[in-house]
Amino acid sequence: MPSEPTTAPDERPVDTVEADDGDDAAAETDGGHETELQAHTIRLELVDEPGQLLAALKPIADNGANLLSIFHERGSLTPRGRIPVEVDIECPPDRFEGILDDLRSRGVNVIQADAEEYGDEVTVVLVGHLVDTDLSDTLKNIQDCSGASVADIDLSAPAGAGSEAHSSARLRLRARAGETASVVETIRAVAAEKDIDVIAPLEGRR
């Protein structure tokens, strides 16, 4: 969808934009808070008009993210004749989606958000009374606790629910680069609460 022309840019420098929300503690970066910051890469495409870049950066500042770097390729154009921009930011984990929503609502075309966020994959097999112990709850707990996302699942319960026999499920999870070992640890802990065994790859291997 082509992006709408954006409204006139805020003339103030980007680093002072957040002063607008100075009284809104929720929108501040951690600055002494204990929230962990996460790095993200966002690729945008901008219409070649003055003020576009600044407009695109405002949602980042408004949501309390730190701008780490901007790669603005003014010389090259995307297939749609726009200018590709890559922005590296860091922000508390729960702010990232808000930033993307704001960007989109301002008509900024987000081409790719965080290809690196889930850089690794890990496959595990769960064994136990998976259906009777509420598999969707187990999956939710795994996602919530490990920060990994379940990419797909295959369940095999040949004896059916309610049977004494164990069922199995193969999960493929997307995890942040370098975090598969801790994701597996978390899955083991979550699964243990329901007496579910986890067959995982060797540490450090996918």
């Binding site: 064994v127 319960a157 164990h166």
Partner: protein, 324 residues
Amino acid sequence: MKLGVLGAGAVGRSVATLAPEYGHEVTALADSSAAVVDAGGVDVDAALARKDAGDPLGDAEPGDALAGEYDALVEATPTTLGDAEPGFSHVRAALERDRHVVLANKGPVAERYAEVRELEADSAGEVYFEATVGGAIPVCATVDDLGAKHVSAVRGVLNGTANFVLSRMAAEGLDYDHVLAEAQDLGVAEADPSFDVEGTDAALKCVILANVLREADCDSLDELREVEVTLADAEVEGIRDIPGSALELAAEDGRTVRLVGEATRDGVNVGPRLVPENGTLSVTGTRNIVEIDHEYAGELAISGRGAGGEETASAVLADVARLE
């Protein structure tokens, strides 16, 4: 070299039988109830024939074999946990007499590693234990040759029974109980298979390897005593609860499940792991494999028969050769 052989099970009898071929002489052979002792050389075949006929090996007491004349004691009695007795006392008795000890019994080096090393330090005798890990596979010798200091991890499939069960389950789509019964019929699994399928046997082997790795960083026996590992320190999970469906799901994804043990300086971990179906660790049947991670050499793998009388005896006799 004159060998005193304690234990006349599959390994002990193979060592005694093969010893002459390696240029050694058996001067004592004992099982748990009797012994045959002769400083001039025991007639091994005759003694084993007596045992097979249901008679004692010889007229002597088992203790006479321990006290007999030998250069190296081959300790091949069954592995015991906890205090590792009577194996540990056998090791002590031989070392106190300044004799060498070659272990096939895992107990003393898995449960009382530092004590064994202390006894060795006070003795003119040396202790080797290649046969305790991976049967015929030269794991300890390879780690030693490579320099244990530079080895960060040793991992592998170290139990043939568990591997037979898992690979049959995967290949035939059969359930655990079915394959186990088959393994018992074939003599691959014991009547009580718990030692193998619960991961204890693999864990003992990994504990021994973890001790070897940690020992490489120690400058004194005191330090070794501080860092030694025993079975109680190992995290162990067996294969008993794995349903056929888990292996099917793994196979659909190009993987399979193997009981993998891993020894690092951090400790010992044994449990079912997902491995690539065509990867190094997915050996089939009773075959074992060991992977060594080395600082400079990278990853090395040695595969072979991890159990069996003659196979394990070959490792015992390789150790005896190191003593010459």
